[in-house]
Amino acid sequence: MTDVLVSVEGLRQSYDGRQVLSVDKLELLEGEILAIVGPNGSGKSTLLRLINLLEKPTRGDIVYWTGKRLSEVDRNERRELALQMAMIFQEPLLFKRSVKANIAYGLKMRRMPQEEKEGKVLEMLERLDLAELADRDAMTLSGGEAQKVTLGRAMVLQPRLLLMDEPLASLDVLARKALREDISRLVRELGVTAAYVTHDYTEVLEIADRLAVLLDGELQQVDRPSEVFGRPATEQVAEFLGAENLLEGEVAACREGMAEIDIAGIKLEALCEQPPGSRVKVLIHPEEVVLLADSGDAGSARNRMPARVTNVKVLGALVKVSLECGFPLVAYITLASTEEMGIATGRRVTAAIKATAIHVMPYVGRPEASG
């Protein structure tokens, strides 16, 4: 079993009486990269600052790797814990000194002997391919270079826990890609546990071991990225993750975990434990929708519906096909399949969906606008 490095328990944070964060339980496992995603203002950065001991929580506790609780630690223990963490912020916050001096900053704060310090700084500069910039004034670096230096400055400390608050947000596409690779490589090489906060979940899918979704200050779901995407815990999580084919329906019948869901008069079979009569939200992943030129073989797919193509949009190698089959449905198919099947607006096809590809969630009604 993987060890828990940090455990957040019943954490609440309020500013001027307004609660901005409420996390009942969140564990950071040793050696993992935990991505914490959520829209702006959902409390992600606050959570990082609390873990990094930069703020005191209004309520709740954090248990660190020493086994000590935040509420129990004295000043010295607090400092000891702080020295084993490092944080990278959204903007590259460099000091007005050379690149080398910036990377050495944290080591200097730890009173590391000069020789050892220089060795570590040089090694980090080499690792990040920054050796040529060592003596450059940090204020003259480009955004990508500057954020790379902040990564080096944090990683040279070989922290137990690295906290990253939207480190790619201020960079262009190329710099983002390069730095994301550097982060992933260094974190794995040095065996550091990392918490990575971002509002753009696509930026962490490649590197995160687990994904935590934070909405309106509340933790909605924590799981492997594939699980969160495949089976979002709530409609809000699905919406945040940009889910298409999020439909409303009602359980018509349910037997041994297999239910018949009524969506706008069309019956779909899906795995579901909700009792008949329950209103539900149904998520059908567009890439799980199979299109057939006729009603021929669709393997084991339990659901087959005649559909009419209403729109075709080429998205590079994939094509987004909008369908009408009693309710609007989107399918992603390859460009080659589109051409082979002659998919075009107005074309009649059969849409096939496996029962296991349909994810059913409890329905949470939205408050209706008054007045």
Partner: protein
């Protein structure tokens, strides 16, 4: 125009001949201003930093006091210091009135709010996340504040220049609490500004102009040195040479 030229020529002569009277007044002025600026920095920089970084009860009042203090009329400061230091005043027991200590005391009061006010504005202008970043890398409360001050070093030098410039050019406070005295034929509490006032009153405008030019010269020289340090021009070349010699020396050693 003739008087000014005459005064300029006289000033050059006095400087070239190291006129003892003028030199002593000039050195006394520098001595008093340097000590007052030093103490002004000692109080003003931490005070300005604290007002910029922390929220506490009475902060707004203190900010108002500092801001008001930046425009304090030297004569009024002189008057209050006089009232405190006079024999029957609350601090009369110190026996500082009409001594250099009284001038330094008054000038610290003039320099401190200037330095504190500019420091406060400078620190407030720095991205507050920089301090968080510094703390997240292991700096404590004091080290993170020092880092922030180091980031604002150019503005801090501006604060020192303003503090020094404010007190070297003032006359009211030095006159009231120092008395512009000579002791045993030597200037005792006579500064360049109070000496100028005296010479003008005596109708000796040539000497007054000479002293004025010397005062202006000292002020310009010191401000130029501080500005050069601030803008990185004064020491950059010597530092570059020293670095290159040092690296050569190390290279030979290895």
């Amino acid at each position: 125009m003739g008087d000014i030229w005459q005064g300029f020529v006289e000033a050059v002569k006095l400087i070239i001949h190291f006129d003892p009277y003028v030199m002593k007044i000039a050195f006394f002025t520098l001595y008093v201003c340097a000590i007052a600026t030093f103490f002004g920095m000692l109080i003003g920089i931490p005070l300005g930093s604290a007002l910029a970084l922390y929220r506490f009860r009475g902060r707004k009042f203190m900010v108002t006091v500092v801001n008001a203090g930046m425009g304090l009329p030297p004569v009024v400061v002189g008057l209050f210091v006089y009232l405190f230091l006079k024999r029957r005043g609350p601090l009369g027991f110190l026996g500082w009135l009409y001594t250099p200590k009284a001038i330094i005391f008054a000038e610290i009061i003039l320099a401190t709010p200037l330095i504190a006010g500019i420091t406060m504005a400078a620190v407030q202008n720095v991205n507050p996340k920089l301090r968080l970043q510094s703390k997240s890398l292991g700096a404590g409360e004091i080290r993170s504040t020092m880092t922030l001050l180091s980031e604002t070093r150019l503005s801090l030098l501006a604060a020192v220049i303003a503090g020094f410039g404010g007190i070297i050019s003032e006359v009211g406070a030095a006159m009231i609490v120092g008395g512009n005295l000579m002791l045993n034929g030597e200037p005792y509490t006579r500064t360049l500004t109070t000496a100028i006032v005296l010479e003008v009153n005596k109708g000796n405008s040539t000497l007054a102009i000479a002293l004025g030019i010397i005062l202006l010269g000292i002020t310009l020289l010191l401000v130029w040195i501080l500005t050069s340090i601030q803008q990185g021009g004064l020491f950059s070349e010597p530092v570059r040479v020293a670095r290159s010699l040092f690296s050569r020396f190390r290279g030979e050693e290895t």
